[in-house]
Symmetry: C2
Subunit: 431 residues, 2 copies
């Protein structure tokens, strides 16, 4: 018995193999049954021809409920009509466990809330499977990109004594009698690590207790946060555009089948190569005014503004030099115009919005202290962060890329909750 | 100006390069100053010879406090006495920021609590740097191992509605008015994902509100948890020994310098190749009794027991078939002897204790329900987990490897808190 996986089925053309998996779906035309077989690595059609198999095999297949588990043996043949390119001419089926009748996710349309209640089963379907395979590819791709470029992974703690950005959108926990919070960014810790390792990245879950219900918000999401010593504003943007382009091209190369299944317009993705266009916040405001948006310098962009700006380009666009007042205390003001910062947001094309926020960080001790005091942040909690400026401070920069928004954009799907295995939103912590 | 990093200095032998970094330490013999330079990628000695540099350069170097940041230019020369193999004959130094006097981590001995208070600076020292570089190598190594072997990364949620193992050692959070908990394992979610992707792994932070103060416990730590459909007890052990061996051999190949710096006995690591020895729990009890330990069948192993057992072998040892009563509800009892489970702990050599716990999981619906009820676990919270047994259940297995314990063992260091960038222990959430 030659074992095969669907992902590697091309290596077995013309051979008889056994696949261990599940019955995703089936249809019958009387003398032929078409089994949609999934094994976790992919989907393949199995063809059971009545006159070519033992009667028992045909009867078993005919009665088998959706999502039953089995070992299917058959001949691997070319099939140019499928995305996979192969089908299986079945000659035997050994059932492992017959599924109960009434599988919740039938093949009719379901509402998203219903599907999210059955996320543990929904992820078996081809679209959700493809999205999470692409997420996996992006995830490892990011890590390999940074590793090859000399970055060290340094994971920040999740349980922290204070807000890193001074906001109130924090989940609080009782840490053996002390108040503590779930981290909403690992950045400050990454800055400490950058002074020890030069170039670092953190990559982990982050938490925001926002009461947002938009299609772009999750309360628990993953973020990669590189931080680089001796890198300035300009160098920071170069890493970002290079990294984003690498990831997009890697998915195009390694996840063709999944992109095809999602019917993603890959021509839009093929254009994603450095350099990316850059406009200042001030230029963006002018652009919006010309397009008859009601928008004043100092306002924050909403989704319609971001989409309008992004639509002027066919690549992600950097919006640079935001008003200092709008941004977090640690961002470096532009020495030539301190009312704006040496930072940028990266806006994805096609209405996917901001996927990166980044900046050069303040490295001057006095300026940092002034900013902390102006925002009434507790100095004793930031003592270690302040010390980084006392001992060996250097210009440094970093950014945070939201994994789920990036997956949503590359997959071309409309709601971020599909891009994470088990979404946590305002009304959902189940399953 | 040719920029170089210390990690890649061998590519620049005989050339003049500039390194951007920090002054880790220095000593002077009047006419020569030896600078210990670090740039995050490594450590190199810089030699400043008074009669060969401009007077200002020599004066600057002489007065420069520890941890000042600078650009150092010099000639790369062979130096067989150092681990690195090269030194830098300095001809210029451009100071970026002079550090304040009184750097907390001087080169004398400090107590560990003191060092943990200054973890953000302590990680700059050669030993801590080496440990975290090895952690990084193991981290990516594990991911690449599973990727190459057809596993998909599926991250479980951190915020969960209930305990996965039914214990009380949980950190509780208020999730918009609902009680929720920080995950102490992603396993149950990984099981769901294994039914969708065949072979999966999760890799993320986990949380245990244990009031333990041993050198092997952290309250926040990272765990990799593979889960495999259609894999039984035996197959599970084979993946574990193959994975552990891969990681050890990879670190031996890629992190020679760091192991040398830590003075790790690499001959002990070179032996780590499959297969690993296996003994049953019952055999282990007999072994302990023969060695005059007071130990009864049904007792849990403490550190001295684990160490004694491990000392009988020169590789990690699997202890299999633990009493069913001692282990979590989801572990598959041995059909031939249901009072023990089809699971194993993997005990590292040299007293490092348990690094893996794993088992075949219960895939039979009725047995799972019986076990849940026997432990009074709330069925409604586990509804989705139960459904995995209604629809397409298959024999499956998995395990969890504790990252920090693995790093401690491979590095040969005595306390787990040094193996994570920012440790969270009973008395510490700072920095």
């Amino acid at each position: 018995m030659l074992k095969a996986t669907i992902e590697n089925i091309h290596k077995f053309e013309g051979q008889e193999v056994t696949i261990s998996g599940w019955l995703y779906n089936k249809r019958s035309s009387g003398k032929i049954i078409f089994l949609q077989i999934r094994d976790g690595s992919g989907f393949i059609q199995g063809v059971v021809v009545k006159k070519e198999v033992e009667e028992e095999v045909f009867t078993t297949c005919k009665g088998l409920p959706q999502e039953s588990s089995f070992h299917v043996t058959g001949l691997v043949q070319k099939d140019d009509r499928s995305i996979l390119g192969y089908e299986l001419l079945v000659n035997n089926v050994e059932v492992v466990a017959e599924a109960e009748e009434g599988y919740p996710i039938s093949l009719k349309e379901h509402g998203t809330d219903f599907l999210m209640d059955f996320r543990h089963l929904w992820m078996r379907t081809p679209r959700q499977h493809a999205i999470l395979k692409i997420r996996d590819e992006i995830n490892l791709g990011l890590r390999e990109y940074f590793h090859e470029n000399g970055f060290t992974l340094v994971e920040p703690p999740i349980i922290t004594p204070a807000s890193c950005e001074g906001t109130t959108e924090l989940f609080e926990i009782d840490y053996f009698g002390e108040n503590a919070y779930l981290s909403q960014t690992g950045q400050l810790y990454a800055e400490a690590a950058a002074m020890a390792f030069g170039k670092v990245y953190s990559f982990g879950p982050t938490f925001r207790a926002e009461k947002s219900k938009t299609r772009k918000h999750l309360n628990e999401f993953w973020m990669i946060e590189p931080e680089m010593a001796f890198v300035d504003f300009e160098g920071n943007l170069e890493v970002q555009e290079d990294m984003v382009s690498y990831i997009v091209q890697r998915v195009l190369t390694n996840r063709k089948k999944e992109l095809a299944l999602l019917q993603r317009d890959t021509s839009a993705l093929e254009k994603i190569k450095p350099p990316f266009p850059r406009i200042t916040y001030t230029e963006a405001v002018e652009m919006l005014k010309k397009a008859d948006f009601t928008f004043e310098w100092g306002d924050d962009f909403g989704a319609p503004h971001e989409t309008y700006i992004a639509d002027q380009y066919d690549k992600p666009v950097f919006i640079t030099h935001f008003p200092t007042e709008m941004k977090a205390f640690y961002m470096q003001p532009d020495p030539e115009d301190p009312k704006v910062i040496l930072g940028a947001d990266l806006i994805a094309p096609e209405g996917y919005g901001e996927i990166i926020g980044g900046s050069q960080r303040i490295h001057d001790l006095d300026l940092l202290l002034t900013k902390l005091r102006a925002e009434n942040l507790p100095e004793e909690v930031y003592q270690w962060y302040i010390e980084l400026r006392r001992y060996g401070t250097v210009p440094h920069s970093g950014f945070g890329l939201g994994l789920e928004r990036t997956v949503a954009w590359i997959c071309g799907i409309d709601h971020i909750r599909q891009t994470i295995p088990f979404a946590r939103t305002l009304n959902r912590i189940y399953p």
